[in-house]
């Protein structure tokens, strides 16, 4: 479903991604872990077109988002194709990025109406259905500032789901939340995994990654150092570096 290979990205002289390879199959849940500054967010941002990678290939849904020509220059799909690819992917941010001037309902319906051109009534029904799933049906007419962090993050997940993405990316969805609130978000993601949603989740919640992910990827210094099943990565035969990182993490 998603295939990234030899992806490189640098800011000025700083190489943030040094040739990342990643495959995500349909229905697969991939957790990305690694120390701060290792390039996890940048990887997600390149795949979601918030950033342009310097070279490498990204193929999603069998479509060519970018590749590299013989001279080593990045070639991107045309704007129309990029747009159609973008609509099939969803991204959930660490700090929610809800639109503060819109009600919860409007946050979820706006893109359905303006981007997907659904009629307002259908968009509303869809939004209410999602809000119910998130346990937020009573908050439809509230503004984001009136919600707790956990509620805001649930709204932002609903907002992404409203466009029916085929793959959903999370960039540290619980890092901005109080520890008591992370559970509610992790549960939402668990439920999505249970219904077969394809997801890539950058997270520092190791036990969650262990439980939910089909595959765990460990990134450091712009490279994927190790990857495999959770049992492999969190087990004895993971690479030494991973064990080191996890040890420090558990302390």
């Amino acid at each position: 479903m998603l295939e990234v290979s030899k992806l490189k990205k640098s800011y000025d002289k700083l190489d943030v991604l040094k040739g990342v390879d990643l495959t995500v199959g349909k229905g697969e849940v991939v957790a990305v872990i690694g120390p701060s500054g290792s390039g996890k967010s940048t990887l997600l941002r390149c795949i979601n077109q918030l950033e342009r990678a310097d070279s490498g290939t990204i193929t999603v849904f069998g479509e060519d988002l970018m590749h590299t020509d013989q001279r080593g220059r990045a070639v991107f799909a045309d704007a129309k194709k990029l747009h159609s690819i973008r609509l099939r992917m969803g991204l959930v941010f660490q700090n929610f990025n809800l639109f503060p001037h819109m009600t919860v309902l409007r946050n979820i319906t706006e893109a359905q109406v303006c981007v997907l051109k659904r009629n307002r009534k259908d968009a509303k029904e869809n939004a209410m259905r999602l809000l119910e799933k998130m346990g937020l049906e009573t908050k439809a007419s509230a503004y984001p500032c009136e919600l707790s962090g956990g509620q805001q993050q649930r709204v932002s997940i609903a907002r992404a789901l409203a466009l029916d993405p085929e793959i959903l990316f999370f960039d540290e969805p619980t890092s901005a939340l109080d520890p008591e609130l992370t559970g509610e978000i992790l549960n939402v993601i668990r439920n999505l995994a249970a219904v077969g949603m394809t997801m890539v989740i950058v997270t520092h919640e190791m036990s969650f990654a262990h439980d939910v992910a089909d595959k765990v990827v460990f990134m450091e210094g712009g490279d994927i150092v190790d990857q495999g099943t959770p049992d492999h990565l969190f087990g004895e035969d993971a690479s030494e570096r991973v064990q080191q990182f996890l040890q420090r993490f558990n302390r």
């Binding site: 979601n48 077109q49 918030l50 747009h83 973008r86 609509l87 992917m89 969803g90 991204l91 941010f93 700090n95 990025n97 809800l98 639109f99 503060p100 001037h101 706006e110 893109a111 303006c114 981007v115 997907l116 503004y143 984001p144 500032c145 932002s156 907002r159 992404a160 466009l163």
Partner: protein, 234 residues
């Protein structure tokens, strides 16, 4: 002074309050959209455009509005007379009747609009730049186009953020319209000053002051209401 005289004076002042409000309204109608455009130009990634725009803003904010108003009045005849004026421009400007009332008004309005657009542009730019990057990223991830993002997501938030600064600017404009009297353009300040010797009294000036005060008060109240209305979110 008889009450009849006071009544006549009051009528006269009211009559000349109309041109004052005309300057006020026209300046706002043109300078706010122009300010929005200037703000965009200043944020233009093509540097020469941004620099030129910045130069314009610096000049408008760094020199007195009164000077700009007077320069505007003298501009056309002086350009036409100058040796370096290209022929087509001379033909174009030569046809303008610089003694007509509409010339005085239009040139004055140009100066007011250019001056206020510079101030509004800086307010709008500050507002636009204060919108967190995450808003653009969320919009982009959801597939909103550039214009949709600006008009549906950025602009409504900018409006809320710039309203207090704009209300300041607009209330200043009420009082700045009085500079037109120096051109001279016949508005309430001009007539008030002229009536002082006639009536041998400060009353005309007092009435003009009262008019500006009431006008500014009404706007203050209006903006209080608007700001409250915009407080539906934080």
């Amino acid at each position: 002074m008889t009450s009849e005289q006071i009544g006549t004076l009051f009528g006269l002042m009211l009559q000349y309050a109309v041109p004052t409000m005309k300057i006020f309204a026209y300046t706002l109608i043109f300078s706010i959209p122009l300010g929005m455009l200037v703000a965009q130009l200043k944020m233009c990634r093509f540097k020469p455009v941004s620099w030129l725009t910045n130069l314009y803003i610096l000049i408008m904010r760094g020199t007195p509005l009164l000077l700009q108003l007077i320069v505007a009045q003298y501009s056309v005849p002086n350009i036409v007379k100058s040796d370096i004026c290209p022929g087509f421009l001379r033909d174009l400007l030569g046809g303008i009747d610089i003694r007509s009332e509409s010339y005085t008004f239009n040139m004055m309005l140009i100066a007011f609009v250019l001056n206020y657009a510079a101030y509004f542009a800086e307010i709008f730019r500050g507002g636009i730049e204060s919108i967190p990057k995450g808003q653009y990223e969320a919009a982009s991830a959801l597939g909103f186009g550039r214009l949709q993002t600006f008009f549906r997501i950025v602009l409504p938030q900018v409006i809320k953020r710039v309203t207090p600064a704009c209300s300041n600017e607009i209330i200043t404009l009420v009082k700045d319209t009085s500079l037109a009297s120096a051109i001279p353009y016949m508005e309430i300040m001009y007539i008030a000053k002229k009536q002082v010797p006639t009536y041998a009294s400060l009353l005309p000036l007092f009435m003009a002051g009262l008019f500006y005060f009431a006008f500014a008060m009404v706007l203050t109240l209006l903006f209080n209401i608007i700001e409250k209305k915009l407080n539906y979110y934080k």
